[in-house]
C-alpha cells in the first residue's frame, strides 16, 4: 500500500528499430521538402497518431508549433522573473518549479538548471498574467516543463497560451468541478467495454482521483520515461481536446485482470491504479484509445455521465444531511431516544432482572422492618 514519491524522469535513448528508422527518414524527407512552408495539418496529425509519433525532439521542435496552431514568426520577448514577483501565484509557482527538478535532464550544469527553473517560472506566470480568468493548478508546471525542454522558452509560451485556452481551460477554472465532471466520462466507456471491471471499480468506491494527475498533466507527472511522455504529447496535440480520458480508459481496460485480483476497497484499488507500470505497451494503448474515441463520442456518453453525477449528488446530500442531523442539540432528540431505548429496556432479560432485584429488596426491607419492630426501635 506504499506509494513512492515521484520518480525521476529517465532520459535514456533507446536503440532505433527498423520501423522507427523508416519513420524518421519519412519525416526528414517531408521537412526538407516543405522547408519554406508548413506541412499539411492532416499529414502532421497522421504522423503524430501513428506509431513512434514524431520520433525525436529535433522534429518536435519544428512540428509541435504547427500542430498546436502557433505562428512562430510572431513571438514576443520573454520578460525577466522580477517582473512577476508581486503576482499572487508567484510563491506557489516557485515552490512547484523547485519541486519539478526531477523533470530536468540529469547531469546538466547547475547554472543551466537554475536558468531553466527561472524560464519555467516566467513561462507559467506569463500565461496566467495574460489571462487573469485562468487559475494556475498544481501540475500545470509538468506540462509547461515538457514544452520548455523540447521547443525552448518563446515557443513554449505560445504553445502553453494556446493549450491553456483550449485543452486545459476546464482545469484552470475557479473550481475543479468541470474537471471532476470530465473525469466521470471514464466510467461509461468502462461500463460498455467491460461491465465486470466497471462493477468492481464502482463497488470499491475508488472514484476518479487516481486519474487526476494523468488528466491534468497529460500523464507527464506520472510517467518515468521522457520518451513516453513526449510520445504521448505528440498524440494529444494531434487529437481532440479530451482524448486523455480515452487513454485512461484504455489503461484501465488493459490492466483489468490485475485490477480484478486486487482487494475491492478504495485504498487498495487507488494505490494500484495511481502508479502506472513502466512496461505498459503505450503504442497498443494509443491504438485502443483511438478506437474508443471513434466508438464513443463524448456527446453519446453524456447521458450516462449525468446519471452517475445525479447518483453521486444524492449520496452526498444524504451524507451531509446525516452530518447536520447529528449536529442538532440533544434536547430535540430526547423523546425519540427514549422511544428508541424503550423496546430495548422492555425485553425479557431486563424485566426478569428488575423483578428479581425488586423482590430481594422487598424481602430485605420486610425482614429488617420486623427486626426493628422486635427491638422496639420503630
Amino acid at each position: 500500500m506504499i506509494k513512492n514519491e515521484q520518480r525521476p524522469l529517465n532520459f535514456e535513448k533507446c536503440p532505433e528499430s527498423d520501423d522507427e528508422l523508416k519513420k524518421r527518414l519519412e519525416i526528414e524527407k517531408l521537412i526538407n521538402k516543405n522547408i519554406d512552408k508548413n506541412i499539411s495539418f492532416d499529414v502532421l496529425v497522421k504522423l503524430s497518431l501513428a506509431p513512434y509519433g514524431l520520433v525525436n525532439d529535433d522534429f518536435r521542435r519544428i512540428l509541435w508549433p504547427q500542430l498546436a496552431g502557433v505562428d512562430i514568426n510572431h513571438l514576443g520577448q520573454a520578460p525577466t522573473l522580477d517582473k512577476f514577483q508581486c503576482h499572487p501565484e508567484y510563491n506557489q509557482v516557485v515552490l512547484d518549479v523547485n519541486r519539478s527538478l526531477k523533470r530536468f535532464p540529469p547531469g546538466i550544469p547547475y547554472e543551466q538548471r537554475i536558468a531553466l527553473q527561472d524560464q519555467l517560472t516566467v513561462l507559467i506566470l506569463r500565461v496566467i498574467q495574460k489571462y487573469p480568468n485562468l487559475r494556475y493548478y498544481q501540475g500545470y508546471h509538468d506540462v509547461a516543463v515538457t514544452f520548455l525542454l523540447v521547443v525552448g522558452e518563446e515557443i513554449a509560451f505560445a504553445i502553453m497560451e494556446q493549450l491553456s485556452t483550449t485543452h486545459f481551460s476546464e482545469c484552470m477554472q475557479e473550481t475543479m468541478e468541470a474537471t471532476q465532471r470530465r473525469l466521470m466520462f471514464i466510467w461509461p466507456i468502462i461500463k460498455f467495454e467491460n461491465p465486470e471491471l466497471y462493477q468492481f471499480l464502482q463497488n470499491s468506491t475508488v472514484g476518479t482521483l487516481f486519474s487526476l494527475p494523468w488528466y491534468l498533466t497529460w500523464f507527464g507527472h506520472s510517467l518515468t520515461s521522457y520518451r513516453t511522455v513526449v510520445r504521448l504529447y505528440d498524440y494529444f496535440l494531434a487529437s481532440p481536446i479530451y482524448t486523455s480520458i480515452f487513454v485512461t480508459a484504455a489503461i484501465l481496460l488493459y490492466r483489468s485482470d490485475e485490477i480484478l485480483k486486487e482487494d475491492c476497497d478504495m485504498a487498495s484499488v487507488h494505490c494500484l491504479l495511481s502508479v502506472i507500470p513502466e512496461d505498459l505497451p503505450f503504442e497498443d494503448l494509443l491504438k485502443t484509445s483511438s478506437s474508443l474515441l471513434n466508438k464513443y463520442s463524448l456527446t453519446l456518453i453524456e447521458k450516462d455521465v449525468e446519471e452517475l453525477i445525479c447518483q453521486e449528488r444524492r449520496k452526498r446530500k444524504t451524507d451531509e444531511a446525516l452530518i447536520v442531523k447529528r449536529r442538532q442539540p440533544a434536547t430535540s432528540n430526547r423523546i425519540p431516544i427514549i422511544t428508541k431505548w424503550l423496546p430495548n429496556i422492555l425485553t425479557a432479560k431486563p424485566v426478569i432482572l428488575t423483578t428479581a432485584i425488586s423482590i430481594v429488596v422487598g424481602v430485605c426491607a420486610y425482614y429488617y422492618n420486623n427486626q426493628y419492630l422486635a427491638a422496639g426501635i420503630s
Binding site: 506504499i2 506509494k3 512547484d96 527538478l101 526531477k102 493548478y137 446525516l322 447529528r326 428508541k340
Partner: protein
C-alpha cells in the same frame, strides 16, 4: 497485510509545502528527503501502531495542498476517523490558513473526527515565524490536540500518529453510544475491522 484489530483512516491536510508528504514518509518508511515532494490528488500509505495491547492499522491519506482539489474528495473527508492538520512553523501564512482548513473540516467531516494540529519543521528555529504558544493557544481554543514535530529529524513524528490513534480508539471504540444511529454503526464497522 499483517493482522490488525482496528483500521483507522487518517487524513493529512494543510497548505502546499508544509511537509505533509515528508511527515508521512518519516512515519511509514522512517526516512526523509531534502527534495520537495508534491502530491497531486491523493496518496495512501499505511502503518500499524500497537497501543493498549491492540494493533491499530493507520491508513493515512496524504492530500494535495491545492485547496481546489478538495471538492474532488468529499468521500475521503466523510469517512475519516482522524485528521492531522499541518502548518509550517517557518511560515506564518500556512498558520493563518489553518482557519480555512478548519472550516472545511467542520463542513465535510463527522463530528466525532479527531483533529490534531501539527507544527512541522521544528528543526529550523532560526526561521520560526509561529511560536509554540500561538499554536498551543489556537489548538486550545478549538479543542484540538497540538504538537510540534520535525519530519527531518523525526522528532515527535511517531508520537503524533500514536496519540491520534489512541484518541480515535477512545472516541470510536471505547465510547460507543449504547444504541448508535445506523450511520454511526457503519462508521464503527469501518473502524473496527478485524483481519
Amino acid at each position: 497485510m499483517s493482522h490488525f484489530d482496528y483500521l483507522f483512516k487518517v487524513l493529512v491536510l494543510g497548505d502546499s509545502g508544509v511537509g505533509k508528504s515528508c511527515l508521512l514518509m518519516r512515519f511509514s518508511d522512517d526516512r526523509f528527503t531534502e527534495k520537495y515532494l508534491r502530491t497531486m490528488g491523493i496518496d495512501v500509505k499505511a502503518r500499524s501502531v500497537e497501543l493498549v495491547s491492540r494493533v491499530m492499522m493507520l491508513q493515512v491519506w496524504d492530500t494535495s495542498g491545492d485547496k481546489r482539489f478538495n471538492s474532488l474528495m468529499p468521500s475521503n473527508y466523510r469517512s475519516a476517523h482522524g485528521i492531522l492538520l499541518v502548518y509550517d512553523i517557518t511560515s506564518s501564512k500556512s498558520f493563518q490558513n489553518i482557519d480555512g482548513w478548519m472550516k472545511e473540516i467542520r463542513r465535510m467531516c463527522p463530528d466525532k473526527v479527531t483533529v490534531l494540529l501539527v507544527g512541522n519543521k521544528s528543526d529550523d528555529p532560526n526561521h520560526r515565524q509561529v511560536s509554540m504558544e500561538q499554536g498551543f493557544n489556537y489548538a486550545h481554543r478549538g479543542a484540538l490536540g497540538f504538537e510540534e514535530v520535525s519530519a527531518k529529524s523525526g522528532m515527535n513524528v511517531y508520537d503524533i500518529f500514536s496519540s491520534l490513534a489512541m484518541d480515535i480508539y477512545h472516541r470510536y471504540v471505547l465510547h460507543n453510544p449504547i444504541s448508535p444511529m445506523p450511520s454511526e454503526q457503519e462508521e464503527e464497522d469501518a473502524a473496527e475491522s478485524p483481519d
